[in-house]
């Protein structure tokens, strides 16, 4: 039930009341109307994490790359030590 899926905001409809702020979010080609009340700073093009029709977080693209940078460093260290991956 805590499933949340990342999608790209493609359109934001401006409502006077932030509680009703909606937008269209693209999930790999499928577009759904999503409530954006909890991500007030979100802009078109941002990726949001969506749970039961609500965006609950804006994805931090720099943080998203961190694990891959770490793995690259790990590879470099292993090469330096002359270790062959098993």
């Amino acid at each position: 039930m805590c499933l949340a899926v990342p999608g790209r905001v493609v359109e934001i409809a401006d409502d006077c009341d932030i509680a009703f702020r909606r937008g269209k979010v693209d999930f790999g080609g499928i577009r759904k109307e999503i409530n954006l009340a909890y991500t007030p700073g979100v802009e078109v093009g941002d990726y949001v994490l969506v749970h039961v029709g609500f965006a609950i977080s804006v994805i931090d693209e720099t943080e998203a790359q961190r694990v891959f940078q770490y793995l690259e460093e790990l590879d470099a260290v292993n090469e330096e030590l002359g270790e062959i991956p098993q």
């Binding site: 409530n35 749970h51 994805i59 931090d60």
Partner: protein, 376 residues
Amino acid sequence: MKFLSEYRNQKAAEQLARAIRKKVNRPWTIMEICGGQTHTIVKNGLEDLLPREITLVHGPGCPVCVTPIELIDKAVALAKRPDVIFCSFGDMLRVPGSSKSLFDVKAEGGDVRIVYSPLDALKLAKTNPARQVVFFAVGFETTAPANAMAAWQANHDKVDNFSLLVSHVLVPPAMEALLSSHNCVVQGFLAAGHVCTVMGFEEYVPIASRYKVPIVVTGFEPLDILEGIYMTVSQLEEGRHEVENQYARAVRREGNRPAQQRIAEVFEVAPRQWRGIGEIPASGFQLRGHFQQYDANRRFPFAGEPAREAPECISGLILQGIKKPHECPAFAVKCTPENPLGAPMVSSEGACAAYYHYGRRQNQNVQSELPSPASR
């Protein structure tokens, strides 16, 4: 899909598994809190990548599984009423009550509808003013902002025929209940990433320090889980017990403030019954103040038969990580997704469902022996 597929990369997973193998020297038992994480682990066979020293036990983070049977019975009774449209997330429909599930009621002609969002239920209430629309508001902290918003919008738009049957539970009190139990074997936690997306992770700091357990906020894809395990094992091997954040692409230390504000406006903390575990103080939400007019519990008084659990079901032990699904004599024999004895067999986050669907039915390759509590 971006931010999903790259975290399922096999080469990177093997690299992380190698890093874990290099790090580990002693046996450790780690619990993943969330049932979504359990499903990733079992579906992708992540346990087979890990060194034998590491035992994963599956936690109570399945809201469908811990919703008390009395509330399922109440939902069934409400769904039977001709004046009610009963709305729920799909997971709840097959969960067995004392005599029926919501799915049985639907098969018998009850107006039970699966909705994607609580706002869809609210929309149904607006388009069906002559009917009562009840939404089964179950969930952990992740779902609380959505359910709070449904109550808030109902109040704002004066939708009087809408109500919520609330069964909201909280992760930190459940972790404390597990840790203070005498048979707890857990030495480190993968905390539930999406719960922390909403609530942040400051509330876990006192738990990590009081019980001397590392807690790593972890995501849901295979690389997230493996990195979470790597970070937990590093702490255990180095004798540290801190709160760390593996899932920083989605989780901020302070969580989602606007969501927390809406939750605080609509809900208040209350004691909750956890199915198979019992009552845990201050472990859930109930509607507060004038939002109680949207409480289905108050709107529809209910005096049902006393609840009856299937005696063979050991879901309480499974939800606490004391037993694994395949150790239950009824597993895949008397208890299947078609004829479940307990909720973990039918929820998309239930450990029994994960073991059943992804073939972890025998003891082979599964480390079923848990370390004794004395080895903690």
